[in-house]
Amino acid sequence: MLIIGENINASNRRIAEAIRARNSTFLQELALAQSAADYLDVNVGGGKGSTGQEIEDMKWLIDIICKVTDKAIVVDSANPEVIEAGLKQGVSLRAERSNRVAMVNSVNAEKARLEAIGPLVGEYRVDVIALAMDDNGISSRVEERIRACDLILEGLSRYNIPAERVYFDPLVLPIGVDTTQGQVTLKTLEQIKARYPEAKTVVGLSNTSYGLPQRSMINDAFLLMLMYAGLDSVIVNPLHSSTIGSIELGEMLLGKDAHCKKYLKAHRKGLYQEKH
């Protein structure tokens, strides 16, 4: 399971302020603290800043993060120009180490978005997160989400991006608002895996428990179900030990952890103690 750390996101006010103040120590510590993650998502678009400012922020942030960690970066922005700036910055740092940006977050079936992001993903040869939605937003139905995935793959193929570089997000809506949504996400995920066996899958988990008590318990349980349905990657807060513990547990139960080594390692590190 590929773990993408979500903590460096400017929609969080403290992060936005640290970026504005160029507080590199604070942000570098945040990067280092996410040691349980494989990739680090980087988002600078939470403020009211101009495109020019966001581009400068993205370049600076990737630069200071790559100074302290070898982890690959996921460039996350609503603005294609900011994504391009992040990709360029990743290439410029490649001379020192390996290519630093591994993934773009995100594309969807919206025509303008596909035409803006597709060429970038093609040119920089990175992976891309693809949200199963279109111009009309997130459908509450499986068939329409699959239709959006079809459109995305077709659109990306024009830029020679093969399915194995696409991480489909079947999308997670709050169970508390519509109790059918757990099944909708699971079924969409299953169908994506069946329809495009080379493609990968990813989810942002926490939306599922919105408005309900004991959120982390719900998130962790749903994560295990998604893993059974074939989930390849997850965007989470890697500082939540219960989430990381659930991932190790799921991998073991699904036979992906030889001699239960990772599970036992997690146990020895005390990952399960506070839970039970």
Binding site: S11, G46, K48, M133, N136, G176, V177, Y210, L212
Partner: protein
């Protein structure tokens, strides 16, 4: 003697209606928050019964439905109730309003007002907006939902033609929040700003931002919106 008996019955059934709203029971098949109440009449059946007994719809709304929703709002505020509890109650009240609406219209009794609700241009998040719409309908407002990603031009057109008393705009993102200000500007340019009270809300929005764009109110959630609307009504009368 007969009259007092009828009055007692009316009070009893209103109290029962209120309790069923609090329990979030739409029909007799629902079990309710506290446990197994399956089989006993719920909001839909009780409302039907009261209409057949010629109890005035205003009384049903005020002493049964609204009184119940107020308790639900309090329980939500203290975190005893969660979003699904609140939605169950609001849906039950919505079903009762569907029964009462034709009677109110036939008797020419005004609703509390027309409310147009929309998610701001560029924004496709509608979960919060939908919850607010359900709550407002439950509180007796005539709600017209324009959906997601609604342009200022579309809103201006609807305000001009449908003549709502209130307009609610929601935005989850700081990047789409600016469309709220543009909508208010567009209303001004078209001479419609004083025709409608504008309420704004959503994760990105704050009291300060609402003041900056000269909205009439900022609402934290649906229950807050209902309270704000009641305050507007008080000023009006």
């Amino acid at each position: 003697m007969k009259e007092t008996m009828e009055e007692t019955m009316e009070e009893d059934i209103l109290a029962l209606l209120k309790e069923n709203v609090i329990q979030g029971r739409r029909t007799k098949d629902d079990e309710g928050v506290d446990g197994d109440m399956v089989g006993t009449p719920a909001v839909l059946e009780l409302t039907q019964l009261m209409v057949e007994s010629d109890i005035a719809p205003e009384i049903i709304i005020k002493q049964g439905l609204t009184a119940g929703m107020q308790v639900v709002g309090d329980k939500f505020a203290t975190k005893e109730y969660f979003i699904p509890d609140m939605l169950a109650s609001a849906e039950a009240v919505g079903a009762a309003m569907d029964i009462l609406k034709p009677i109110l219209e036939a008797a020419d009794i005004e609703t509390k007002g027309r409310f147009v609700i929309a998610t701001a241009k560029g924004d496709i998040h509608d979960i919060g907006k939908n919850i607010v719409a359900i709550l407002l309908k439950g509180a007796g407002y005539e709600v017209k939902d324009l959906g997601i990603d609604v342009s200022p031009e579309k809103i201006v057109k609807v305000v001009r033609e449908y003549k709502p008393d209130f307009l609610g705009i929601s935005a989850l993102l700081t990047t789409t929040m600016v469309a709220m200000g543009k909508t208010i500007e567009a209303l001004k340019e078209n001479g419609l700003r004083d025709k409608v009270k504008v309420l704004v809300g959503g994760a990105a929005v704050s009291e300060e931002y609402a003041q900056e764009i000269e909205a009439d109110a900022y609402c934290v959630d649906g229950f807050h919106a209902i309270k704000v609307l009641e305050d507007f009504q008080k000023v009006k009368t």
